[in-house]
């Protein structure tokens, strides 16, 4: 992370989004909106004084997964790259109520700038790599697990933050009250994954991170940890071994789907606790287990806006919304659009080693293109039949690329081949059939349709000419 921030060849554009993309492999033009940070990047030293003094606290739903707070002027985390904060204008007291300006007063370098505006910059690139990642499954969509209703139902991402020494609890595993250490913890696998009601696919990482969470929770709290799983999927180097290590540590495994998590007690031992109701498929029994904490192993979903992003870059998504690779086995990081590559979870759920490998693979594909120095472009361009052209200019209006010019002296249209992308829109527009698209001529298409429509009979009709 630090390396990427420091590298002289990398221009870091954080708090930024791509607005539009045009052009083709080798020569894309990309418009990027750099959102206003309200902090002057050249003056800010990243000292953090503004954060310390900001009076506004909001729940951090991104980095802290909703388990912790941040201020309105903030850096997502202490080692953020770049170390420059942003003002979250939706929550900032100055931007919402018109007064405060404390950060401006305390900033030793006068870097705060409330008047900053979004800037648009245009960059020219030869290739594009999309590594836009995933969204965690929203556990509130499965109401019977009670996330959002029962305080002590957590998501796995919340637990990750809880276990982090720099997280909201300083690394302590506690209940929602912030102090009680759980004595019995249930981890429910496949929340949102492998479930026809939500996502049918396996999210690939949940089994392994659940094992890791089980190990860490047990290690830190000595709590009894129960894993409720469908199957344990541990395919990876040292993964199965890790599973066995966790088994040996005395972590419990129950094979079966959990029907519901409830706070309704059926007996004294359940009072005041959460109860996991489940089917134990290895004994064939319906059972209930009182626990103090429930951790939902949420799956991975495509980014909520993955379809719009795919459209922006001219690539496609699969039915779930993951970016579609050119070939699932032979070309896993290229897309159907030349010069656009995918890496990481944007293409489908995967773990860290696979994401890193794909990132490197995508880079290698780009390097191979750069190494070739040039790329073949459209040969199938439009061409004007000078004898037929009456110079009406319809094609000039229709062309999306301004690739057709009007030759004043000869009063005809002329295609500038270097600009023509071969869409053929001009052909559809020409009233005098004077313009045609190479490789997609009327003649070629008509013969193709003849073959398609009435087959062998064409041979007989052929002599009658076109």
């Amino acid at each position: 992370m630090m390396d990427a921030g420091r590298h002289p060849n990398i221009t870091l554009l954080t708090y930024s989004e791509v607005e539009s993309v045009s052009g083709y492999v080798g020569n894309f033009v990309v418009r990027i909106r750099k959102r206003a940070r309200s902090v002057k990047e050249d003056l800010c030293t990243g000292c953090g004084t503004c954060e310390e003094n900001c009076p506004r606290r909001v729940v951090d739903t991104v980095y802290e997964a909703g388990l912790g707070y941040r201020t309105a002027i903030y850096r997502p985390f202490a080692q953020a790259v770049p170390a420059i904060p942003v003002i979250d204008r939706e929550n900032c007291l100055y931007f919402t109520k018109g007064k405060c300006r404390i950060c401006e007063k305390v900033c030793p370098t006068h870097a705060i700038d409330y008047t900053q505006e979004d800037t648009i910059l245009e960059v020219e690139v030869g290739n594009i790599i999309l590594a836009t990642g995933f969204d965690p499954f929203d556990a509130r969509r499965i109401p019977q697990f009670g996330y959002g209703r029962f305080p002590n139902v957590f998501t796995s991402l919340e637990l990750e933050r809880m276990l982090s020494g720099a997280g909201p609890t300083g690394g302590k595993v506690v209940l929602r009250d912030g102090k009680t250490v759980p004595q019995r913890v249930a981890i429910i696998h496949c929340v949102g994954s492998r479930d026809k009601n939500y996502r049918e696919y396996c999210s690939r990482v949940c089994c392994m991170y659940s094992l890791k969470l089980a190990h860490l929770i047990h290690h830190k709290t000595h709590a009894e940890v129960y894993n409720f799983y469908i199957d344990i999927r541990a395919p990876g180097k040292m993964y199965e071994e890790f599973y066995h290590r966790v088994l040996d540590e005395g972590i419990h495994f129950v094979r079966g789907k959990v029907a519901q998590v409830t706070d309704a007690a059926r007996g004294p031992e359940e009072e005041g606790r959460l109860v996991v109701q489940f089917e134990d498929t290895l004994t064939g029994l319906q059972r209930r287990m009182p626990v103090d904490m429930v951790v939902l192993a949420i799956g991975l979903e495509p980014r909520h806006d993955s379809r719009e992003v795919a459209r922006l870059f001219g690539i496609s998504t699969d039915a779930d919304g993951w970016f579609k690779e050119k070939h699932p086995k032979l070309d896993p990081v290229a897309t159907m659009t030349d010069g656009v590559f995918v890496a990481g979870c944007a293409q489908g759920p995967k773990d860290i080693p696979d994401s890193v490998a794909q990132g490197a693979a995508a880079a290698a594909r780009v390097l191979s293109l750069i190494g070739q120095g040039e790329v073949e472009v459209e040969a199938a361009t439009a061409v004007v039949d000078e004898l037929m052209c009456v110079g009406c200019g319809q094609c000039i209006q229709a062309c999306p690329y301004s690739a057709i010019e009007y030759l004043e002296d000869r009063r005809i249209a002329h295609v500038i081949e270097a600009l023509c992308k071969g869409c053929g829109t001009c052909v559809g527009a020409c009233p005098s059939k004077a313009i045609s698209l190479r490789h997609f001529t009327d003649q070629q298409l008509i013969w193709e349709m003849r073959g398609a429509i009435y087959g062998m009979q064409v041979q007989h009709a052929e002599h009658r000419g076109n």
Binding site: A319, G428, M449
Partner: protein
């Protein structure tokens, strides 16, 4: 049952970037649709001139589909705007020449809409099956 002795011939002009890819996705997902449609790949729906559609009917098609990218998503920026503007005029022309305008289907299908493509083909084929053959092909040879 006896009404269904005839299978309509359908030609689909699909833009290479969205709809053709959508049809490919329908295949990759093994969605099923009737075999009546024969797909002709064009770079952009904007390439499909009114004359080409009329020619397709004259060559014996009972139905023509022109599918392109959604407006705003055209690989060629604005090629499909032209299609969108052209097709209503073409419909009027078809009616004028005695071809029911519903024999022409113009729709936007993206590369991720395999199911929409399959559904569109199913519905269009079914609709044409309910209509009599067009039989415009001008040849007597057999």
């Amino acid at each position: 049952m006896s009404e269904q002795t005839y299978e309509p011939k359908i030609v689909g002009f699909l833009c290479n970037w969205c709809s053709y890819a959508g049809a490919d996705l329908a295949g990759a997902a093994r969605l099923k649709y009737p075999p009546n449609i024969k797909i002709i790949r064009v770079p952009c729906s904007g390439r499909v001139s009114p004359e080409l559609v009329i020619r397709t009917f004259r060559e014996g098609a009972d139905g023509v589909m022109v599918l392109g990218c959604h407006i705003g998503d055209c690989h060629y920026a604005t090629g499909n705007h032209r299609t969108a503007r052209r097709m209503p005029v073409l419909r009027a022309l078809l009616e004028f020449t005695g071809i029911e305008s519903e024999r022409l289907l113009v729709k936007w299908v993206s590369s991720s809409e395999g199911e929409l493509f399959a559904q569109t083909v199913r519905e269009f084929t079914e609709k044409l099956r309910q209509m009599p053959p067009l039989g415009l092909r001008m040849t007597s040879s057999k």
